[in-house]
């Protein structure tokens, strides 16, 4: 077990005793991938912050129920996914994934890159949920394969297969969009 994990274990134990600072530090550490997971369930940016707040409330009120501190990430992922799914069902968004390419707002990026990234984002949003969450977690760059498998509560081999499939789907969709664009021209 590395220092970071040992530290996280200590934070979980302190948070279970009601230490606000430890709880905040824990959430800060896991914020990036957690938000990615929520984002992947909602299939877009809408209400992500609302769900994140709901996740925080649940963590604060239920942290004392964590029985295995070493499986905190898995517990956190389940909690976040449930909150996001409940929110998704309640809000019932009309459009989950737009077929139109999404334009990424970054003035520094050149036009071609922006178009390309917009297509990638569109393709990611259009992935089936179980592939989308693996893809987004993998590209959030914060978790190792082992940690991702643990967070998603699936075997590591299953996670790797899903990731390969997700990448293939995104690549094919982006290529399809590019071909369509060439035909339109």
């Amino acid at each position: 077990m590395g220092d970071a994990e040992q530290n996280e274990l200590t934070l979980v134990c302190a948070a279970r005793q009601g230490d606000k600072g430890a709880l905040q530090a824990l959430l800060n550490r896991n914020w990036g991938w957690l938000k990615g997971l929520v984002y992947s369930v909602l299939a877009g940016k809408q209400d992500v912050d609302d769900v994140m707040q709901e996740v925080c409330v649940r963590v604060i009120t239920k942290i004392h129920t964590v029985r295995e501190p070493e499986r905190f990430r898995a517990w956190l992922a389940i909690l976040a996914r449930r909150a996001a799914i409940q929110h998704y069902r309640r809000s019932r968004p009309e459009v989950v994934a737009s077929k139109e390419p999404i334009h990424v707002d970054d003035p520094s990026a050149d036009l071609e890159r922006r178009e390309w990234c917009g297509r990638v984002l569109t393709a990611v949003r259009g992935l089936p949920p179980k592939y989308r969450e693996v893809f987004i977690l993998a590209h959030s760059g914060e978790l190792t394969y082992t940690q991702m498998a643990e967070a998603l509560d699936i075997p590591i081999t299953t996670m790797q297969i899903r990731l390969v499939r997700a990448r293939q789907m995104v690549r094919n969709r982006v290529a399809g969009m590019s071909e369509q664009k060439v035909h339109e021209r």
């Binding site: 707040q53 760059g141 390969v164």
Partner: protein, 186 residues
Amino acid sequence: MSATDDRLEVLIGKLLDGEISPGEQRLLDRELEQDSRARTLLEQMRVLHECAGWVIAQETRSSGADPQNVFERAWRQSKGNAWRRVVHIGGMPRFAAGLAAGLLLGLVLHLAFAGGSKSPVNGPSEKTVANAGDRNRVWPVLERPDSPQITREVEWYGFTDQAGNEWLVEGLREGMAKPASYRGGL
């Protein structure tokens, strides 16, 4: 796509994600040297990986509310919820709480009134009870606890016991019988 292609994609994916082992790295290097399709795939996946990482970072990290603020709001909200959970009870718990409160109030009232209504014994006090064994003592006349305005019909009986002592017995209409005073000279 063949199983070989799948395996190649797994290896390239691991390389891009920084999860490749030394053995897998050697295997991938060999593939890349021998197969131009592998090199093309690596290039495609590298571009996709960079772009996806950038896009997802844009979507999740560079936008939205500050985590500190979100946490503080959640903290306040959770504390409010905890208080409401204590105060707001409904359904069966509320009924049970009401019932318990009612019973408790009833018990308190019962104890208060029962304790306060202990009436003094109106009958003959210990000082008026005749003691047949103490015949020579002069006993005081039994005082009526009732107010003088109230007239009650009584009947008086004379009684001589086996020892020859004479007794005056006061008989009340209510069917009560209480010992009257005894005077040795009666």
